[in-house]
Amino acid sequence: MTNLSGLPDSKGHFGEFGGRFVPETIIPALTELTKAYLHAKEDPSFQEELTYYLENYAGRPTPLYFAKRLTEHLKGPKIYLKREDLAHTGAHKINNTLGQCLLAKKMGKNRIIAETGAGQHGVATATAAALLGQECVVYMGAEDVRRQALNVFRMELLGTKVVPVTSGSKTLKDAINETMRDWITNVETTFYCLGSCMGPHPYPMMVRDFQSVIGKEAKGQILNFESRLPDYLVACVGGGSNAIGLFHPFLDDSEVKMIGVEAAGLGLATKENCATLEKGTPGVLHGSLSYLLQSKTGQVSSTHSISAGLDYPGVGPEHSYLKETKRAEYVSVTDKEALEAFHLLTRLEGIMPALESSHALAYLKKLAPKLDPTQIVVVCLSGRGDKDIEILRETA
């Protein structure tokens, strides 16, 4: 396998995927952002500042925890959890928002805008903006504002303006549309802090790089514990930022297998799912070419998942590429299976995973019986489940 980790090319393409499919108005801003980011990437003072905040503010490195009781319960491989739930604000999202908001500061753009679904990326952006003294506006689908009232309040406490989006299906997809429209209008003064490894180049690359701290740490930690690399990496995939963050530092280690777990919602036989890589077809949405859940005529489908963070019809273009090249495998689990996994981890380990991360955990039930006790699996526990308490109460 040739240098998979060297992508994207200079135009943001991962094979046929990726690119920059956006209105001309923001193309110059994307060029400027790419330049500023590539400069920051090589700039020791930027990296030093980012590392300072990641370690002293966000609580990195997060632990790699050997889940002994879960391992015993599943009677298969040794299971390690990468504890992104312990990062500040309760999920991996902060790795990216600290990076992007610091970059905005370097670029002299003091107005930050972001989209959010469940509110995790919104809260992480509001947090970084508060820390750095930036103005922050978060777009959120009106339906999600209603479902996630607590996160809306958290963002407001942090000084962020939350704008409910009433167009289209009133969820994450529409919040992204509206954030892009804001950016098209205010591009000269505004920095768009995008929350996943999707969108136009350089976002899929930049978000991946900021999230790669997950995989870099995990690699050092597992070598320390086991003196060898894991056999499997497992992570949930909505847009796919925690998964690409875990996978990327291992891409050139061909002995490490990678599994992305998407949300099958009520089941793949129904339309109520968001298993983009399993059920979708290539298409263009929100600035890049990638797999997409769409109709025969190219209209974007409405999706469903119990987990708001996975409830999105698209996926980051690098995941489409890893699927096409078969470097990673993509599977899905249903709402029901994810809920079971939530309860299992909560009872066995005393850790409440986010419903997103519960999808990754749920797949272990299918994977573990095929493996033996000498094998090692690292699962990305991308966030904590406190935000999902209401949904859990409703389904109890």
Partner: protein, 263 residues
């Protein structure tokens, strides 16, 4: 020479400017879209842009977004609109342009799109989320209709050259840094964008986004070769869903008079 180029040539020879009218196909229904096309033609539109409804039109403001939603409720697809073009083409030679999000063309199949475009008599296509940098699926010379790219006030001079080189028929100059929709005045950015573009090309330059009435249209054609009006027309259609043609016709006639009053 394409119908679009012929149109601009003819207007130039008569010292006139182009009025380009946008409507969303299928809003409120496809039969009414056909009627609207004839009403636009009769009221003095030179070129007609048909928007193909899409679930997520990124560059559009609330007025055009809502029109796409109304058309989608009628399940209007790209294939339906091609069929409409064929029907209209039997009755008039007016240049017809599609404006659509790239996903619709991509999903339809780029090759098939251009084959059908030629067969049914479509003259040009505008894809707002397809910058010329990504325009590689088909050899440019093999594209049988005019590809019209957008230039924006934020475009660098290097990009203006790229856009100019890639465009055929005319170049669509976005009047402001923003999305489609009605505005009270035309931004000064439009004037300086036309000035910059004139130094690069002698291709026709049409200005759109935010042109909401006769006064603004008149201001724009003082320096541009044409003006594109969308949201203001779509708004009239939204307010008169049963029989939009008479009011739309009256409005477009007022735009025509304003444009022609410029000597």
């Amino acid at each position: 020479m394409s119908r679009i180029s012929e149109k601009f040539k003819g207007l130039r020879e008569n010292n006139k400017k182009a009025l380009i009218a946008y409507i969303t196909a299928g809003d409120p229904t496809l039969p009414l879209t056909e009627k609207l096309v004839y009403a636009l033609l009769k009221s003095g539109a030179d070129i007609i842009e048909l928007g193909i409804p899409f679930s997520d039109p990124l560059a559009d403001g609330p007025i055009i977004q809502a029109s796409h939603q109304r058309a989608l409720k009628k399940n209007v697809s790209l294939a339906d609109v091609f069929a409409l073009v064929k029907k209209i083409r039997n009755k008039t030679e007016i240049p017809l342009i599609f404006m659509l999000s790239y996903n619709l063309m991509f999903r339809y199949g780029t090759q098939k799109f251009f084959k059908d475009a030629q067969e049914f008599g479509l003259d040009g296509v505008i894809v707002p989320d397809l910058p010329p940098d990504e325009w590689t699926p088909v050899k440019r010379s093999a594209v049988p209709i005019d590809m019209i790219f957008l230039a924006a006030p934020t475009s660098t001079s290097e990009r203006l050259e790229l856009i100019s080189d890639a465009s055929k028929g005319f170049i669509y100059l976005v009047s402001l840094t923003g999305i489609t929709g009605k505005r009270a005045t035309v931004s000064n950015a439009a004037f300086s964008l036309v000035e910059k573009m004139r130094k690069i090309t002698d291709k026709p330059l049409a200005v759109g986004f935010g042109i909401s009435g006769p006064k603004q249209a008149k201001a724009v054609v003082q320096y541009a070769d044409g003006v594109i009006v969308g949201s203001a027309i779509v708004d009239i259609i939204a307010r008169n869903p049963k029989a939009p043609a008479p009011k739309v016709g009256k409005f477009v006639a007022s735009l025509r008079r304003a444009i022609d009053s410029v000597k």
